[in-house]
Structures are given as C-alpha cells and as structure tokens.
Symmetry: C2
Subunit: 156 residues, 2 copies
DNA sequence: AACAAGAATCTCGCTGAGCGAGATATTGTC
DNA sequence: GACAATATCTCGCTCAGCGAGATTCTTGTT
C-alpha cells in the first residue's frame, strides 16, 4: 500500500464527503422552502452571530459571492420567512444590521445537530493521539485547499 | 482538551473544507464559461468514464438531482462546448450514450490535478500508521454522512 | 456650513437555469 | 398487433441572480 495510493483514496473520500454534505444541504433546503443559497446565507449569519461579528448585507453578499441585488433578494426571502430581521445601524445609518431570529437558530440546530452527533461518534472510536492526528490532517488540508483557492483567484 | 471539543473542531474543519472545495468549483466554472451544475455533471461523467460505467442522460440527471428537462439543458450546454457527444445506443435505441471528449478529460485534470497534489503532500507528512488512521476516519465519516442523508431522504 | 466624493443598500428590467406537463420514439409483454 | 413501460426531448413558465442606476447617509475638503 503506497502512500500515493492512500493520498488518492483520501482525495476521493474528501470529495465524496463534500458531495454528501452538499446533498444534505439541498434536501434540507427543499424541506424548508429554502434555496441552497438561503441555507448558505443562514449558516453564514449563524456563524456571525456565534462569533459576535455584526452581519450586514454587504458582508453577507461578499461571503456568498452575490452582488448587491442578489443579496437583497436573499435577505428579502429570509425576512419573509421570519428567520432574519433588518435593523438600521444607529451609528452609521447607511448600514443595515441583520439579526437572526430564534427560529433560524432552531433551524440551524435541526440541520447540524444530527451531523455533529454522528461525527463526534466517529471521533469517539479513536484514542486521543489518533484524534490529534486526524485534526492535524484536517487543519493541513484546510490550509492547503484555502491556499489553492487563493492562488486560483489571484490569476483571474 | 476533551474528546467532544475535538469532535466539534473536526466538524467545523470538515465544513470549512467543504466550503472551500465548493468555492474552487465555482471559480473553475466561472473561468471556463460553465455553471456549477455543469462542473458537477463533468465530474460525474468523468467518474463514469473512469469506472467504465455507461453514462446516459437518465443516470446523469439522477446523480445531479435534475429532472429530464434540466438534464437535457445541461447536456446541450456541454455538447455545445465540445466536452460531450451524444451517441444513440445501438442495443436500445431509446437510450443516448454520453461520451466525454479529450477536452473534458484535460479540463478535469486541470481542476483536480493541483488539488490532488496538495492533499497528497499533506498526507506525506504522516507515517503509514497515521495515514491509515486518517483514512479510517474519513471512511467512517463518509459512511456516517451517507447514512444521515439516506435517513433524511427516507422520511421525506 | 456647503459641497463633492464615497459607501451601503435598494429598485428595475433582463437573462437564463431548472421545473411541470406533455410529445415522441423505442422496447418488452400479453 | 395493441398496450404499458421506458428514455429522451420540446414548450412555456417561474424565479434566482446580474448589470445599471437610484437613493440615502457619511466623511473629508474648502
């Protein structure tokens, strides 16, 4: 069993996991009258809420790769469903702050909860040293993939 | 450092990697006048070609989660760009076989090549035992995630 | 203070991806 | 040969997202 073979298998596995996660996201979207983009937006907003970063249409659009018109449309849809509220920033009154509602948080947990549980269970099969190895590998892959993307965006 | 913390961090890492891979796919699509769906279709067709499975509009549509009309549109676009050819199956003349062109294979390598190289490099930092651990973990995650998706599709 | 330049968001009209319904061609079954 | 099943395609429609520009507010300059 050569290292390179293991590398190729791992690439395939990562891709397969990615595909499955995407599909789950799509299913989830369909079940809640959302579009895949809306789910991505919700995840982004929940992340921001969790880390305390203020979210605005501008930051959201940048994360999603949408222009301002598309971003407005996403927020309109989420607001109509009651997952998000628009609030004028009192400091800089050009800006709009996006507040996620309780329903959005609950929605997020119903999406990620079972997934987190499953993966924590898989991790539970390994001892502490192996867990550290796995985490180190994923950190490495994340860095490598992020670097790859950055270099591709550069010579655009 | 509790196991559960490691589990959560790993979940976040996997999600981050997924997001990055998706973005790379989108960039790649934009650079080659393709839509994200077209890239997914190409990957699907290349996989089929590699494993020798005959690809048809029906199987492709099923993999992509599109209906027949949408599938026809995807194939039209790929055919117009010269990446795919339609060929009537001589056995069952209702069916159309999808043949990927050389250009599509080259396109696939230009997409995956650097990514594979990066990840193989990350794997190279670990010894054989750790590589086996990593692979085992990813297999476990893949199974878990696939099971999750299946159970969600079930009670639809 | 008045004004220009810039920033954040929204509105309008349009293109095109993907859907539903139905048409067309081919195959296996009775 | 009539008929249901299967594979693909056509047509018309909806709506996500884009480009261009309008609107509202802020900041720096004079």
């Amino acid at each position: 069993m050569h290292e390179q073979d293991a590398g190729l298998r791992v690439v395939h596995l990562l891709r397969a996991v990615t595909v499955e996660l995407d599909r789950i996201g799509e299913r989830f979207a369909a079940r809640h009258a959302l579009h895949p983009t809306d789910v991505r937006a919700l995840i982004c907003l929940l992340d921001a809420a969790r880390t305390g970063t203020p979210a605005t249409p501008g930051t959201l659009g940048a994360h999603l790769g949408l222009n301002s018109a598309g971003t407005t449309a996403v927020i309109d849809r989420l607001e109509r469903l009651g997952h998000v509220r628009r609030e004028r920033d009192t400091r800089d009154r050009r800006r709009v702050l996006l507040r996620v509602d309780e329903s959005a948080v609950a929605l997020g947990w119903s999406f990620f909860g079972p997934l987190i549980h499953e993966i924590v269970a898989v991790m539970g099969r390994f001892d502490a040293a192996d867990q550290a190895t796995i985490e180190g590998f994923l950190v490495g892959v994340h860095e490598a993939v992020t670097r790859e993307r950055a270099s591709r965006e550069q010579h655009l």
